[in-house]
């Protein structure tokens, strides 16, 4: 069986590195929360940062997005998805919190 030349696939090292990093980031987020390491705001910012870091690790190690050669269609669609989600989540929170403030 020959895969197409441009097919994205990973090596054992990719998966192992991805797994170990994800494990560490998950445990870090867990203990930051349960041990109440910082103030509430700092804890929230830290664990959101850790979640984003873990997502990036997995997109690189498990989806091999960084190995794609030009034209990077996969990456392009990925970035437009991020853009849409940022509008949906950011927009909803913005509008609803404003509404909360005004109706209280």
């Amino acid at each position: 069986m020959d895969l197409p030349k441009d097919a994205l696939h990973g090596t054992f090292t990719d998966y192992l590195v991805g797994f170990i990093l994800s494990l560490l980031l998950t445990l870090a987020a867990y203990f930051t929360t349960t041990e109440h390491l910082f103030s509430k705001k700092m804890v929230f910012l830290t664990i959101i940062g850790l979640a984003l870091a873990q997502a990036i690790v997995q997109f690189i190690c498990f989806f091999h997005l960084s190995k794609e050669s030009k034209p990077r269609w996969n990456l392009l669609i990925f970035l437009s998805m991020i853009f849409v989600i940022a509008i949906i989540i950011g927009g909803s929170l913005w509008i609803m919190y404003n509404l909360d403030d005004r109706t209280m």
Binding site: A7, F12, F19, T26, F44, A51, Q58, F63, I77
Partner: protein, 199 residues
């Protein structure tokens, strides 16, 4: 990609591989938008507990950590299965996917246990806006995992009968992308729903 087609003779199965896997990636990205909408709904409604329990009262972080580690490990074993698939090692593929299946199944069992406990105590989705959005988000993910398990069982039978060909490898690639994707979604459920909920 265009250059490759011009220079080399392309086997139709190889072309189907590239197109299918790319199409599946586009589907996954639209699925991300679906989850994005559910996350936005949860973010807006999570304080509207209507006198019922809040996340702090009902979430057990250690229990959720177990679910998270099980799902993460299954994502890793799914990757190992794919390495074996690209080397046409049929037995290893079936073996690693069986491990992935069992881990996925235990994840679903844990989630159903958690949901059943909540419903038994009267904290079902109808209790408050917070619980409605919580159940919708987490159960949509759980449904995806259950569909993935069904899909995995079907493909294992196919690999068992047909062996590893470019066609079965293509299908396994899509399945593995689906599985890795669900783990990425779970990272955010773990962090935004559970960890932020119990703080």
């Amino acid at each position: 990609m265009t250059e490759n087609i011009a220079v080399h003779h392309h086997d139709p199965d190889q072309e189907a591989y590239t197109k299918n896997v790319f199409g599946f990636w586009v589907y996954l990205m639209t699925d991300c938008v679906l989850f994005g909408v559910l996350f936005a709904t949860y973010a807006v409604l999570h304080n509207n507990t209507f006198g019922g329990p809040s996340g702090k009262d009902i979430f057990d972080p250690l229990f959720v950590l177990k679910e998270t580690l099980i799902l993460l490990t299954s994502s890793f074993t799914c990757g190992l299965a794919m390495i074996a698939a690209y080397r046409s090692e049929k037995k290893k593929v079936i073996g690693w996917f069986c491990v992935t299946f069992l881990l996925g199944l235990s994840f679903v069992v844990l989630e159903v246990t958690e949901f059943a406990g909540l419903v038994r105590e009267g904290n079902g989705p109808q209790r408050s806006a917070f619980l409605s959005s919580y159940f919708t988000l987490v159960a949509t993910h759980g449904m995806h995992i259950s569909m993935g398990l069904l899909w995995m069982a079907v493909f294992m039978a196919q690999v068992f009968r047909k062996g590893i060909t470019l066609v079965t490898a293509r299908r396994l690639t899509c399945l593995s992308m689906f599985w890795h994707f669900l783990d990425v979604v779970w990272i955010f459920i773990f962090t935004l729903v559970y960890l932020m909920g119990v703080y």
